[in-house]
Homo-oligomer: 299 residues x 2
């Protein structure tokens, strides 16, 4: 398959134009889905949409209970799905949580969410990745700027930009406890990054990403054009962002932890192929290649 | 001299009550100074005051020119006044800049500032410390929570809380590029920290503070009571904060650097004595013990 979005292959970084639409739904699908025209326009222009208080306080309480449960259960779990901070060894992310926990499994099929995703992607969808991110108080570390698509394309073989990340805020995200930052409009460009992917890169990159990272000049240019939006919102809010939107977050020295559930829906018309790096694919818990989730069956 | 604010001496952290006033000026001095009653009340209650656009854009431009100059001049300077980042070796702070640069010297005597300080401290004043802080874009590191007074008391022998820090914002401080965070009201408590001060601690602590750092429980309690205020303001703004106000800042992955000039005025009635740690005092460029600055002479 032709590589429409080459990255980690050139000597110098390049900014390429996006070759895919942002809204895939037919006019009818777009009109009938849960998002209204204004919301769809905002998403198309900016590459994200923040829906405040999407889940009720009771639902958030339930999710946090299960979050704490998973944190406790995995405290001493050395399985690869549990990613730890490079320095403190604290849990940073738990992958594939929806296969381990019934409540998170239901959440990954919640029609309030999946109907929106289908509206935008104009097709059936499936869960490409599901994880919980913990950013503890006092010592939470930054997540450096990146486009998720860049990694999913190079390391997982996602051919086109037809996927959406959903982040459910499980704690209040203030401007000061390391909330997600997004560069509006950055989803319309593609930063072809520098560097060659080593074998099993994910074993390091999930702790601290050093490859597939945009260069300073490209970032500066993008921020000059689009600015930075901080996704500060109360617990229970839902942030949708396009797979190619540039995002990252600062560390967190405040006492207030920042945790979220993060899951990605991909269109069934955009199934993974061989990774464009030419290396072997990453494990299933990071990038679902077998597509078994019920979302596919119009649940 | 009796140690009214013991720290780094007990096995467990303690929160002590402040034993000093916040506003020292006589009723007449307070009434006639540059700050109005509302501003003074705010400062007394919260322990800080942010004055937006205090300096003109032309003045900021001039300061930034000299900032860049000092950065360039000190690039390869291995003198102790130039503090570098622990990992990248980039310049983090330059101490004593007002003795090296005429423009910063004038700034340290600017009556628009010193009149305010005199109003609050109710006495003549002198420059206790003067430094420039650089927090570069992309990789600026956090400054962990601390009360300046705790260190100045233990390591420099500042007897009472009668000093004020001034921070001039030389770049726009946004919520997202690592602005100063303050805990309103924290200046009325004193966190007696745990740990014994080693000889020459400052050689490490200015890169990364690990002693005189409040414990998680005290911080959590203070934030629960006072919340967190972020000093996001345009370049040219002046932030005054009480020497015992708990503050810190997160890292900065954005392309937008955060630099400021930081200087501290102490009351001449609060001159340094022997450090309460019992160790030898830190060098003059960190803590002025000889008091030669002209501010003293009612310049």
């Amino acid at each position: 398959m032709e590589d429409l979005y080459p990255s980690r292959v050139y000597d110098k970084p390049k900014i390429l134009e996006r070759k895919d639409p942002v809204l895939y739904g037919s006019p009818g699908e777009l009109k009938e889905g849960p998002l209204n025209k204004q919301q769809l326009d905002f998403y198309e222009t900016n590459g994200f949409l923040l829906l405040d208080n999407f889940f009720s306080p009771e639902e958030v309480k339930e999710m946090r209970k299960h979050l704490d449960l998973l944190w406790e259960e995995n405290r001493d779990n050395d399985s690869p799905e549990v990613i730890r901070e490079p320095e403190s060894n604290e849990i940073r992310s738990i992958f594939d949580a929806h296969r381990k926990n019934e409540m998170f499994n239901r959440l990954s099929r919640d029609p309030r969410v999946t109907d929106i995703i289908r509206q935008i992607l104009g097709s059936d969808i499936y869960v490409h990745q599901f994880r919980i991110n913990f950013k503890p108080g006092f010592k939470g570390k930054e997540f450096y700027w990146h486009s998720d698509f860049e990694t999913w394309h190079v390391e997982d073989g996602m051919p086109r930009m037809r996927a959406i990340s959903c982040s459910i805020l499980l704690t209040d995200n203030h401007s000061y406890n390391g909330p997600l930052m997004l560069i509006p409009g950055s989803h319309k460009k593609y930063v072809s990054c520098v560097g060659e992917t080593p074998e099993d890169n994910y074993k390091f990159s999930l702790k601290k990403q050093e490859l597939g990272v945009p260069d300073n000049e490209s970032l500066t240019r993008m921020v000059k054009e689009g600015g930075i939006t901080t996704a500060a919102a109360p617990a229970g809010s839902l942030l949708l962002f396009e797979c190619n939107t540039m995002h990252g977050s600062n560390g967190n020295i405040t006492p207030l932890p920042r945790s979220n559930v993060f899951f990605v829906f991909n269109s069934v018309k955009n199934k993974l192929v061989e990774p464009f790096s030419g290396l072997k694919p990453r494990p299933e818990y990071i990038a679902n290649r077998t597509i078994q989730t019920p979302v596919l069956q119009n649940s």
